[in-house]
Symmetry: C2
Subunit: 243 residues, 2 copies
Amino acid sequence: MRLRVDLLPHGGYPDVVLVVDVLRATTTAVAYLERGAEGLLLTRTPDVALALRPEGDEGRSLVLGGERGGLPIPGFDFGNSPVEAAAQNFTGKTVVMNTTNGTDAAHTAAQTGKHVLLASLTNAHAAARRARSLATEEIAIVCAGTDAHVGLEDVYAAGVLAEYLLALGEFSIDDGARIALTIRRNAGNPIEALSSSAHGERLGGLGLGEDVRYAAQVSTSTLVPVLAAEADAPEGTLKFVAG
Amino acid sequence: MRLRVDLLPHGGYPDVVLVVDVLRATTTAVAYLERGAEGLLLTRTPDVALALRPEGDEGRSLVLGGERGGLPIPGFDFGNSPVEAAAQNFTGKTVVMNTTNGTDAAHTAAQTGKHVLLASLTNAHAAARRARSLATEEIAIVCAGTDAHVGLEDVYAAGVLAEYLLALGEFSIDDGARIALTIRRNAGNPIEALSSSAHGERLGGLGLGEDVRYAAQVSTSTLVPVLAAEADAPEGTLKFVAG
């Protein structure tokens, strides 16, 4: 079995893909499903998200969450905050998500991956176990990064996932996995690593330090968002459900 | 002053760029110039390299060096081996180089960079000092990687360069630099890091382990290949001279 860590999305994934965008898309995705959402629709653009809301949807069966540059998108109901998500009840609702990097990474993964899962630090152990049980040839951990630059927080989380996976079985590992493991073992504890990342610093500057602390919790959830059969999802979206 | 490490070529470099392809293009480039070559012409494709050789160039004022998949290119005079280069005398010759990743990275750097230098472990200290003396706003260390995947050997070398730079002055650093510094400090000595990289292992398997050991020497040369004024170079090539 191969274990591969792409420090930025690359494509060409043949088997299981774990998409990682710790600050904050995949952390928030886990929180939405933890709080009862029936599913998540990840769109490539904010416009696709806005177009999904039916006219006069007073019951708000669809809620929109997302960000650009860390800030909420006009017309959306929620930002991309796991703290905000964890304080709400989404029972019976579907959350449409669009974020700067995480949703793109998920779309890249879905082009070829047989099984696409969303992973964060908060669900790291469960995500690693699920990936191991599904994989037949390769597990690829894909770091979303920030605007095509490698993000320390995602590489750190990839190292945490890789450590769990190596404890579950034998893998041949690539240079990306070697780098992620070295970062995980030498970049401090999760809150230190996430806070010192450029993205963590920016969120702190925007008054969103609580989200960074939330995202630094390790394996507090057993919920793994799993890409559902495509037939189920509107065009241009990926539907994830609790797995 | 900003210090930025791109674990893969990204583009958009405003100031000084250090291009790193330790196994083996930038290491070999230093060796060619050490052994007397007047200049290096880096081409984007092997065909551009072959077309540069004049008909009936018996004196061989132009020699061709390069590789694909680690092996010499048909019609070329040399592979991409620093050991081979270091054993020859290139006085009075210009070397046309084309390699799988390093020459592409140099072309990406040259699109916007004001000063483009080639760096390896062998010239790391000299390259860092030269970069520092030229820079006015940013030094970008650009890892060539291998076929769009991050290479441990390049990230390690970027960390060595970053350490030298941090000893030369104050920098604000990005996540790529943080990652490279952590790898440099925790991935063993140079020969361990290069040998354990996927690319190092492949070269070893091709019988090119001597090249890996050569490339793992740190700061044995004070020669820094510097991109020369473009007017001097044939179309589609970049000309580097000893700086």
